[in-house]
């Protein structure tokens, strides 16, 4: 049964009661909350996700709740709990859904040591994965959303999960986080894009999430072979430039984007060598999706390098 198969009233009651268990691919997450913004966000963004038996095993137990009864009514605030602990400061209730998404990213990146986890988006075409590894503000999520609209399968907007045994990339196709100008850029570019409620005044500015496409959710169990790594960089001057990056230099840069390279030690080194070795690697500066998305489309269809 999917989230969309349950009536809103029934869903909200289960969310506020024993919680809902979402199958996000490699991990099952139980979320419990009586906060309206969380329920609304989950019903929209996770509509196509399967619901698991709420008494079954879950990897992570998340609760989002108001900080106090008083704060439910007076400038309401919410806290994020993971396995009973509060890792962050409270935020206004209006920011509850973005907080849930960021909190889930944090939970997975700090606990999922069965994978090497990189800070990067991953997309797939014909079984081959494109990793977009970048620092915040580089336009990674904007580019990711543009590629999804162009037909690439979303594996993840934020977390590249590398299987330690085989080096394949696992899918965890959750909503794509968009910030500030990128919200309108993606809306204008994307004919198929579904963007949820806009949330203002967060620590990252104005944010909204893009709902993952049905196909990406349905195929979340399918991993992909790493084929390309791109270090994207948005530039306001709008010039598109592509540079090939050496594998040793790229490897070192990727270690910087890894959340758990140090604790995984040798196995992380070996997994990252396998991924780096398998990929064509580029640094791409771009000023708009109109140029870079077709370029990456061509890359995926050609056996020849693009630089």
């Amino acid at each position: 049964m999917k989230v969309a198969d349950v009536s809103p009233r029934e869903f909200d009651a289960q969310l506020a009661g024993e919680g809902v268990c979402l199958d996000c691919g490699p991990y099952v997450v139980r979320i419990t909350s009586s906060v309206r913004e969380v329920a609304t966000g989950l019903r929209f963004h996770y509509a196509d996700f399967p619901l698991h038996e709420s008494r079954g095993f879950v990897d992570f137990a998340i609760v989002v709740r108001h900080t106090s009864l008083l704060r439910r009514f007076l400038r309401p605030q919410v806290n994020f709990y993971c396995d009973g602990k509060i890792p962050f400061k409270p935020v206004p209730a209006s920011q509850a859904f973005p907080m849930l998404e960021w909190g889930l990213n944090w939970v997975i990146s700090t606990h999922a040591h069965d994978h090497l986890v990189l800070h990067g988006a991953v997309l797939e075409r014909e079984g081959r994965a494109l990793i977009l590894a970048a620092d915040p503000g580089s336009g990674k999520s904007t580019l990711c959303a543009g590629l999804v609209d162009a037909g690439w399968r979303l594996l993840s907007d934020e977390l590249t999960l590398i299987d330690l045994d085989c080096g394949r990339i696992r899918a965890i196709a959750r909503p794509v986080s968009l910030k500030n100008e990128s919200i309108n850029v993606v809306r204008d570019f994307g004919a198929h894009t579904q963007v949820g409620e806009i949330c203002v005044g967060t620590t990252k500015g104005v944010v909204a999430h893009m709902r993952p496409p049905l196909e990406s959710v349905e195929r979340r169990g399918e991993s992909a072979d790493p084929a390309w790594i791109v270090f994207p960089g948005f530039t306001r001057d709008g010039r598109l430039s592509v540079q090939r990056v050496g594998k040793a230099a790229a490897f070192m840069e990727l270690t910087r984007h890894a959340f758990n390279y140090a604790p995984l030690s040798e196995s992380a080194f070996e997994a990252l060598v396998r991924v780096t070795d398998a990929c064509d690697i580029y640094r791409i500066a771009y000023g708009g999706l109109d140029e870079v998305v077709p370029l990456l489309d061509r890359m995926s269809r050609s056996a020849e390098p693009i630089a």
């Binding site: 490897f251 390279y261 080194f269 060598v273």
Partner: protein, 76 residues
């Protein structure tokens, strides 16, 4: 000089633009010059350290630093 081996917990991978070397004891990854591939290849037996010293003395000159870091060890 020929009795050398890879340091304990050390892994390496060479590419044309450099050689990445991981040391578990140091919990550190190094980006070294591509020349280091010849040294690691030599100590794993595909060519001898003696051959390396005679054919590429400059590359062999990197050995002391690799030994100092514990990436390569002298066999007992």
């Amino acid at each position: 000089m020929s009795q050398l081996r890879l340091g304990v917990g050390v892994k390496w991978q060479a590419w044309p633009d450099g050689c990445v070397v991981f040391s578990a004891p140091l919990a550190q990854t190094f980006l070294l010059s591509p020349d280091c591939e010849q040294i690691f290849t030599a100590i794993t037996g595909e060519c001898s350290v003696g051959e390396l010293e005679s054919s590429c003395p400059q590359t062999a000159g990197l050995l002391p630093r690799l030994i100092e870091l514990g990436l390569i060890e002298r066999a007992a």
